[in-house]
Symmetry: C2
Subunit: 393 residues, 2 copies
C-alpha cells in the first residue's frame, strides 16, 4: 500500500518551490499543532475522540491520530475500512449503513481481521432489515471460517441531519431489542451525528441545534435504559460544533475529522470562544498560466479541489496577494483583485489556495505532499498516500 | 497502463445486477450511437472533429473516436497528453496554456514521441512569454536528444469565455508574428472556444453568442492574413453549440467531448433542431441504504459524481421511479418523490443517476464499467480504465 511511484518520493527534501502544480500540499507543522490542540481538548473534557478518516483517507495519518490519543477512526465506506485495515489501523468504525450482502460479507471479514490484531470493528445500523442482514453475514463468516467474532453496532438516530437514522425515541428501542437477539452483534451505543449543525454560521444557531440533538439523545437513551439495556456510548460531532457536543454531557465520543486540515468553510463559522484555534494546514499549490488586464488564470479548477462548499480562498502570502478566486471550470481558476487591492499576479506566479471542503478535495488526489518549515521556504518532508482515494463501495 | 486489478476484470460477462454500488457505468450501445451521430454530423458538415479527452480520460475511447473519424483528441493538461500517448494516441492537442519550464520540457518530449509514431502534438499559447518558453523547451530537447521536431501552436483568442486567450484582433497578430520567429513552432491556427455559450439554455442566446464569437474570429483572421500568414484552422466548439460553430463558416474543427456520454446539464439546453439527438450513456449505479417516511438515502454522494453543474437526475427505469435527488453530502444522496409520484424506493433498491457534468464525474473513478444490452438486463462487456484520472499537472 505504501510504495510510491518514483516521481513522488523524489520530491523528499526538495524545497517547496520544486512542487509542480496543481498539487495538494499539507503544512505538517500546522497539522501537528491542530493534532495537539484536539488531543488536549479531548483530554480536558474527558471525552473520547475517533476522527473521521473519510477526510484524510490515509492509514498513516490515522495511525498518527491514534498515537496522539484517538480511540480509532471512523469511515463511511466498507472500502475505506479495508484501506485502513490494510494500512495497519485496527480500530475502525463504519459510521454508515451497509445493506448489500456482498459488502456485508466484506464487513464480516474485516471484523475477524481487526479482532485478530487486537482491534475492533464497529458499524452503524438504522433498520431491522439492516440488522438481520448484518447478523447473517457475521454468522456465514463464522460457519465458513470457524471461530466467532463480535461486531460493535451503533444504532443511528437522526438528531437533525435529515439523512440516515431512525427517529429518536421508540424506533431506536425496537432496533436495540432486535439487535440483542443476535449473538454476533454487540450493542455499542448510539450514533447521533448532526452534520448540518456543524456548518451553521452563528454560534447561537449551533448551540440551539446541538441542544436539540442532545435532548433527542437523552430521550432515546432513557427509553432504551428503561428496557434494562445500558447505552455505554453516544458518538457524533464534527469540527463545527465539537465544543458543544463535548459540553453536552451526553456525547462520549467526538468524530470530528476536518480539524486536522481546516477548510475554508469551517473557518467561516463564527467561532465559539471555547473552540480550539485550528489553523489551515491543507493547500492547493497553483500557478498563473494566463494574464489579462482585469484577471489572471491559474491552473487549479474543480478537478483539483472540491467546490461543494464554495470556492477556495487565496492564501495571502504577502501584502499584494489579496485575490478572490472565481470558478473557471474543471482545470482553471479566475483570479481578480479583492477589494482594496489592485495588483494581479504575473505569469508563472505560484499561489496557494485554501479549499472550501477538505474531504472531497483530498479524494481528488493520489498523494498529499507534506511540507515542513512553511509554504515560503519549507522543504518536502514526507509524501502521504491517499490510501482510500476513490474507495466508494 | 491497461492492466486492471482482478476484481474489475472478474465482472466481464456478468449481469448488470452484479455491479456493486456506487459505480460509474457506461451504456456502450448508447455511447456507440452517440459516436455514429457525431461522425455523421461532422461528415455532413465537412468539418474536422477532435473530441476533448479531458472528458473520458481514456486512451481506448480516444482510439475508438479516431477510428470513427476523429482527427485526434484535445486535452487540457500535459499529464493527460502523456496518458494518451502512453496509451497509443499520437494526435494530441493540449488546448490550454503551459508555462512551467518543467512541464514544457515534458511537452517537448511528447512532441518528439508523437512525431516518431507518425502523429503530431499541438498546444495553445496566449502570451509572448509562453511562446518564448515553449520555443526554448523545444530547442533544448533538440540539442539534448538530437534531431528537430516541430510543434503545432494555436494562438488562443478569447471569444467570450473570459478566461485564457488574448483579446481578438491585433494582440493575436503580435503573437503570430512572434511565433513565426521560432523554427520549432508552426502556426496551426486559432483556438477560439466559447465555453460559457455551450451552457446557455435558450437556442437564441447560444446563436447570438456564437455569432459574436465567429465575428471575433473573422476579424482576427483578416488581420493575420493581412500580414501574409494563412490561418489554416480555427478550432473550438462544445456539445452545447456544435451545430452553430459547424454552420458558422469560420470553425474548421469541433472539440466537443461530452456528446459521447451526455450529462444532465447539456440535456437541459433547449435543443437546436439541427443538433444530433445525443443520448445519456453515462450513469452512476447506486443503492438505497436507508429509508424514512418522507425520503430514501442512496450510497452515492458527491465523491461519486460531480455537482458543479447541479445535482444528478434519477433515471426513470419504471413508472414508480420519478424521484428527485437532493445533496446528501460526500457519500449520500437524498431521494424524494418528484411531483405526481408518491412511491419511495425500498431498502436495497438499485437506482441509476445521470450526473450533472461528465468530465469531473469520470475523474472521480478508476474505471468505467461498460455494459451492453441495457441497464435492466444487460451484461458487462468491458472495463474502461480512466487512464488520466487525477492527471492534474
Amino acid at each position: 500500500m505504501s510504495t510510491l511511484p518514483p516521481r513522488w518520493s523524489e520530491l523528499i527534501d526538495r524545497p517547496v518551490n520544486d512542487i509542480d502544480t496543481p498539487a495538494l500540499v499539507i503544512d505538517l507543522d500546522a497539522m501537528k499543532r491542530n493534532l495537539v490542540r484536539m488531543a488536549e481538548f479531548a483530554k480536558k473534557h474527558n471525552i473520547l475522540w475517533r476522527p473521521h478518516a473519510k477526510m484524510h483517507k490515509s492509514a498513516s495519518l490515522a495511525k498518527m491520530q491514534i498515537k496522539a490519543g484517538a480511540a480509532g477512526v471512523c469511515v463511511q465506506k466498507t472500502a475505506e475500512a479495508e484501506a485502513m485495515v490494510a494500512g495497519g489501523v485496527y480500530n475502525v468504525y463504519i459510521s454508515n449503513e451497509v445493506i448489500a450482502p456482498g459488502k456485508l460479507a466484506r464487513v464480516a471479514a474485516l471484523a475477524k481481521k481487526t479482532a485478530a490484531h487486537g482491534g475492533q470493528l464497529a458499524i452503524a445500523v438504522d433498520s431491522t432489515e439492516g440488522l438481520i442482514r448484518l447478523a447473517q453475514a457475521m454468522n456465514e463468516a463464522r460457519v465458513r471460517k470457524g471461530g466467532g467474532t463480535v461486531i460493535d453496532v451503533f444504532v443511528e438516530i437522526d438528531v437533525g441531519q435529515g439523512r440516515c437514522g431512525v427517529e429518536p425515541g421508540s424506533a431506536a428501542v425496537t432496533l436495540v431489542l432486535e439487535l440483542r437477539k443476535h449473538p454476533a452483534l454487540r450493542f455499542a451505543g448510539l450514533q447521533a451525528y448532526h452534520g448540518k449543525a456543524q456548518h451553521l454560521r452563528s454560534a447561537r444557531e449551533r448551540r440551539k441545534a446541538i441542544a436539540k440533538a442532545a435532548d433527542a439523545v437523552l430521550l432515546t437513551r432513557q427509553l432504551i435504559e428503561a428496557q434494562g439495556v445500558a447505552v455505554n456510548l453516544v458518538t457524533g460531532a464534527g469540527t463545527g460544533c465539537l465544543v458543544l457536543e463535548a459540553a453536552s454531557g451526553v456525547y462520549g465520543e467526538l468524530q470530528a475529522g476536518s480539524f486536522l486540515f481546516m477548510d475554508a468553510d469551517y473557518a467561516q463559522n463564527e467561532r465559539d470562544p471555547a473552540q480550539p484555534q485550528f489553523e489551515h494546514a491543507m493547500f492547493v499549490k497553483t500557478q498563473v498560466i494566463s494574464t489579462r488586464s482585469d484577471h489572471a488564470v491559474c491552473d487549479a479548477g474543480h478537478k483539483s479541489h472540491a467546490i461543494d462548499s464554495g470556492m477556495p480562498l487565496v492564501h495571502a502570502l504577502s501584502a499584494d496577494s489579496a485575490l478572490e478566486y472565481f470558478n473557471g471550470g474543471d482545470e482553471h481558476g479566475i483570479l481578480r483583485p479583492a477589494a482594496g487591492c489592485s495588483r494581479l499576479p504575473g505569469l508563472g506566479r505560484m499561489l496557494w489556495l485554501i479549499p472550501g471542503h477538505c474531504d472531497p478535495t483530498v479524494n481528488l488526489h493520489d498523494v498529499m505532499i507534506g511540507v515542513s518549515g512553511g509554504l515560503h521556504s519549507g522543504v518536502v518532508q514526507r509524501i502521504i498516500k491517499v490510501d482510500a482515494r476513490g474507495a466508494l463501495t
